[in-house]
């Protein structure tokens, strides 16, 4: 049976180049970058090089890149830090959206408990926020606007440069969780007026457990993790040298091929949309234009997402869903609800996230299997019977 990995928004395989690059930092150059002898200094230089690579990929300076354990830590640090800076000036209002990743939403909830107020901007049916809503929400009390670059479930890409400009003009800090975007679409933090940006390596073929926060020069966030003097004294803990080296290699590799990959992957995604849209009672979630190249998200009425993805798994396809049963709670994903989907529709969601490793054959295989699975689930679904009956009336 064919195997198709179509859950690259969850994580990606580590690239061969990355594996080759990081191995020596575990076996030969295993020194601590803080040590002054040769193998320590080799590790120090490698970290420095990776910092330059990450900075170059974002249009930043290497002094503005701080390695973290991943995207969640970077989000927590940026948001909690900006909130603390704001509170010092008596500004205790934050702005975000309803469909952020939980690393942002749960951090916001924690800050609300500490007396901050948070505006959660609406997301529209196209999966996009409106810049005028951002502008209207900013008050004299606002210390931070944080809006994700691209959504992890529906892949919609937000008007980041416009929001950056608004925040700059209003003198409010702007952070973006770019975990899904980095390595897949071109980013320039200076041109887009981004003050802080979170990224995570395993979303673009580096290893798990490594990420970074870009924090613009002159913005001194309070530390989230105290300890040694690593990362210019701003993020303590012995550096994850292999992870950092891999991050640098992966981001460089991705950015070198960013346009070519986007072209290839979005063509695969569109082929998938075209084929799957032929299934009756289906809908595409979010804008098809302002979208990550690899993100496919659709809902199929009358079927439940977990059953759908387990049957796909039985056919060798790894996918994801935003149904309640897969979210581990009793409600379907907040992202799908935020774009106005009814619970019963959101339960039938399917996300396929492609990468440049996927092929036309992969897509055609998915399309050869998917309609049959949906038919099978609908044939045993009383909800589907209700939908069909209602239409007859």
């Amino acid at each position: 049976m064919r195997y198709v990995y179509a859950d690259n928004a969850a994580t990606t395989p580590v690239s061969k180049k990355v594996v080759e690059a990081i191995l020596p930092y575990m076996t030969e150059h295993y020194g601590n970058p803080s040590s002054l002898y040769a193998i320590g200094q080799t590790a120090f230089s490698a970290v420095d090089k990776a910092r330059e690579q990450v900075a170059a990929a974002l249009g930043a300076d290497k002094k503005e890149i701080f390695f973290t354990s991943g995207g969640s830590e970077a989000d927590n640090w940026a948001i909690r830090g900006a909130a603390a800076l704001g509170a010092k000036k008596g500004k205790k209002h934050l702005i975000t959206t309803k469909f952020e990743h939980h690393a942002v939403l749960h951090t916001m909830a924690a800050l609300e408990k500490q007396g901050f107020t948070v505006t959660y901007l609406d997301v529209y049916e196209d999966g996009l926020v409106r810049t005028e809503d951002v502008e209207k929400a900013i008050t004299d009390e606002t210390c931070l606007v944080t809006i994700m670059y691209a959504n992890n479930e529906i892949g919609t890409v937000q008007p980041i440069a416009e929001i950056g400009k608004i925040c700059k003009d209003k003198g409010v800090l702007f952070h973006t969780d770019a975990v899904q975007a980095v390595g897949h679409i071109a980013i320039n933090v200076k041109e887009q007026n981004i003050d802080m940006l979170s990224l995570s390596g395993h979303k673009f073929h580096a290893t798990k457990g490594i990420g970074a926060l870009y924090c613009k020069k002159g913005l001194r966030l309070p530390n989230l993790i105290e300890g040694g003097a690593q990362e210019s004294g701003r993020r303590a803990g012995t550096e994850n040298v292999p992870g950092i080296v891999g991050l640098g290699v992966a981001i460089t590799e991705m950015c070198e091929n960013i346009e070519e990959n986007a072209k290839k992957v979005s063509a695969l995604r569109d082929r998938l949309f075209e084929g799957a849209s032929k299934i009756s009672h289906s809908r595409i979630n979010g804008s098809t234009e302002k979208r990550l190249p690899g993100n496919f998200s659709m809902c199929f009425e009358g079927v439940e997402g977990e059953s759908l993805l387990l049957m796909l798994d039985m056919n060798g396809i790894s996918a994801s869903s935003g149904s309640a049963c897969t979210s581990g709670s009793l409600d379907p994903s907040h992202v799908l609800l935020s774009i106005g989907l009814k619970h019963e529709v959101a339960h039938g969601s399917l996300r396929l996230s492609l990468s440049e490793n996927n092929t036309v054959e992969d897509v055609d295989y998915i399309l050869s299997v998917l309609p049959g699975i949906i038919d099978r689930l609908r044939s045993m679904s009383p909800l589907w019977d209700h939908i069909v009956e209602n239409e007859k009336q």
Partner: protein, 143 residues
């Protein structure tokens, strides 16, 4: 979260799927908003459940619990079907993840709803025999 092999077996090849055209007891429980609906069809003769079929919209554990619960009551007298508990269903499946226990409750309730329908069709008040069937609104997703 991980499903037992038994759950996956019943999900991949569920038993007793479908409808019984001349069923004399039909019960449906759950709602679309919660993400699971179970419908049970019973054919009862001389107080024996001679045939049972189900249709389920829901996750793998909802389908697996429907499948095994129908196996457990097929050919049994009504009195035995009434004794079927969600706990017995969970045990028969070699366990369910904690967040999925409500699926087993649904299976028990769906069978009771079908039995209640059977009694109603004969002009018998089902409540003293079957007990009260929970109304299943969205708040009740949490059972």
């Amino acid at each position: 979260m991980q499903y037992s092999e038994k759950v996956m077996e019943h999900f991949a090849n569920p038993h007793n799927v479908g409808e019984i055209p001349d069923a004399n007891g039909v019960g449906e429980i759950g709602n679309a908003k919660c993400g699971d609906i179970m419908k049970m069809f019973l054919k009862i003769e001389n107080d024996i459940i001679v045939d049972v079929k189900f249709k389920t919209y829901g996750c793998a554990s909802a389908i697996a619990t429907s499948s095994i619960a129908t196996d457990m009551i097929k050919g049994q007298p009504i009195s035995e079907a009434l004794k079927l508990t969600n706990k017995a269903v969970v045990e028969a499946l070699d366990g369910l993840p904690a967040v999925k226990i409500h699926c087993s409750v649904l299976a028990e309730q769906a069978i009771k709803a079908a039995l209640a329908d059977y009694y109603k069709r004969q002009g018998i008040d089902p409540e003293p025999i079957v007990g009260k069937i929970e109304e299943h609104d969205h708040d009740a997703c949490h059972i």
